[in-house]
């Protein structure tokens, strides 16, 4: 544990000395928290569509099933919340990826990887330290941003139906469980990329691709083809847990110290 703690400490000491990284890490949660709050505020009960049925909201037909007993305004809010919740789930994936993408290739470019690998640290300890250093801030920031968002909704005029939707177990599972699992996947993917490339910019760009499947899900939700319900969430958690486990296992196998040290220019 001492080696893992040391790597985490080292990564944080380096990352948090970089103002740009801190700005990036702060900006994303700020936007992802402010945007849904503003959307809820501007689509509040004062809207003209309060008395209209959900069917008249103009939302995709597939989504209307989620708007049982809601008026058009509430349905619109729920529709927007769906997207915002997906954004919250993306947050722990995006923040660690930035840190993890640099973690190995950064050590290569500063030539600090060789002395690091010359210590008695095992590959598992090194990867665990690097992953946790990226994972923990991402998840903590997401939890913090989500808490701020929930507190913020108390100051907004939203109906009981919308509030119930907001506080449903689906989203708690999504933010508290699925988000961190996605963060593990993103982190491991970024570390894998980071150990294979020789340029930090390439690492960052390639690691960003991990977000694509989630963007696809977002697109499907926007099109009204998918309503995120409890079953969907549980299945997603299961699948992501399996993928995360496989990536953690694969990470230690494909991290070849010798190749990393000798085959990069």
């Amino acid at each position: 544990m001492r080696h893992i703690r040391t790597i985490i400490d080292k990564e944080w000491a380096e990352v948090f000395k970089n103002r740009m990284v801190i700005m990036t890490m702060a900006l994303l949660p700020l936007l992802f928290t402010a945007i849904p709050l503003l959307m809820l505020a501007f689509t509040g009960n004062g809207s003209q569509s309060v008395d209209l049925p959900a069917q008249s909201s103009g939302l995709p037909a597939g989504f209307l099933a989620a708007c049982e007993d809601m008026n058009a305004n509430e349905c619109m809010q729920v529709y927007l919340l769906n997207q915002s919740m997906l954004m919250f789930m993306m947050m722990p994936l995006m923040i660690p990826t930035t840190i993890a993408a640099y973690s190995i290739v950064g050590e290569k470019t500063t030539r600090s990887l060789e002395p690091l690998l010359a210590t008695p640290i095992t590959t598992l300890e090194l990867l665990a330290g690097k992953s946790l250093a990226a994972f923990i801030p991402g998840v903590l920031i997401t939890y913090g941003a989500y808490a701020v968002f929930l507190i913020g909704t108390h100051f907004l005029k939203i109906s009981a139906a919308v509030r119930a939707y907001l506080l449903s177990p689906v989203w708690f599972l999504g933010i508290l469980l699925l988000g961190p699992l996605l963060a593990v996947i993103g982190t491991m993917f970024a570390i894998f990329i980071s150990s294979r490339v020789s340029d930090p910019r390439v690492a960052e760009q390639l690691s960003g691709l991990v977000i694509l499947p989630l963007m696809l899900v977002l697109g499907i939700v926007l099109a009204g083809l998918l309503v995120i319900n409890l079953w969907f969430m549980l299945i997603s958690i299961l699948v992501c847990a399996l993928v995360a486990y496989a990536l953690l296992h694969l990470g230690t196998i494909v991290f070849d110290r010798e190749n990393i040290l000798t085959k990069w220019k």
Partner: protein
Amino acid sequence: MIKTQKISKTFRIGKKGQTELQAVQNLTLEVDKGEVFGFLGPNGAGKTTTVRMLTALIRPSTGQAQIAGYELGKQDTEIRRNVGILTESPGMYERLSAEKNLTIFANLYDVPDVAQAVNKYLSMLGLWERRYDAVGSFSKGMRQKLAVARALIHEPQILFLDEPTTGLDPEAAKTVRNFIEELKTQGRTIFMTTHNLDEAERLCDRVGIFRQQLLTLDTPANLRKQLFGRKVVFHLREVNPIWVEEVSKLDGISHVEIVENKLVVSMQDPEQSNPIIIQYLVGVGAQILFVGELRHSLEQIYLEMVKTSQGGSL
């Protein structure tokens, strides 16, 4: 302390790895406890690859080795725990302070009292005043000193120094060299690669000249003897060519030549032959101004060995 038996390293290079590059071939050597061993060779000779193999950073393709009593390839973590390495490039965490850099490595090496070890080496290498400064603001020499401190922080049994003074200005190089001399007096086993032959001659008990394989291995003095024999120069007021023939006939003399007003005599044992030659020269009326041994530098030995390994051309 270090014992290798025919270790070789072959890299697969090219896009599909179809080309083989033999970096190290059948290296067999032993370095004893407390010995300072110099590993000399031209660029690309395989010195760094050898150091990486011996510090369990990369695996040998064939052969066996024991480092600090541990089997290479089987007890790599133990080897890493017992050796210190100064890599060719210091590779420090530039944004972090000198103290933080050392603390990280002290923790990774499981040093029991981290603060004490860090303070000891910061003071010893003259970095105490700058301990809280970011390493990025350090001069090359200071970084190298910090890298030496990092290599020593866990008090390793064996220290590997890969080109310890390369790229340093003369003053910084001198500081590092003095520190290595100090380590030598502490009885540490040191394996150092270098281009600086004077440095090797001054610091090393034995040197190995290497170019993919070990070309020769001995003390600098013995290498001189092996390659060139011993030569004594007799500085005379005037030289008579007849003396060349007469001196050549004396016991233990292998070759005599005249260079300006000097008689250059190659011999096995100057302590035995010099009095006889002097007696002869005085007897024939030669005026001897000065007698001294002609010393071949390690550089000449090195160049000769490397030239031979390349088939006579440099």
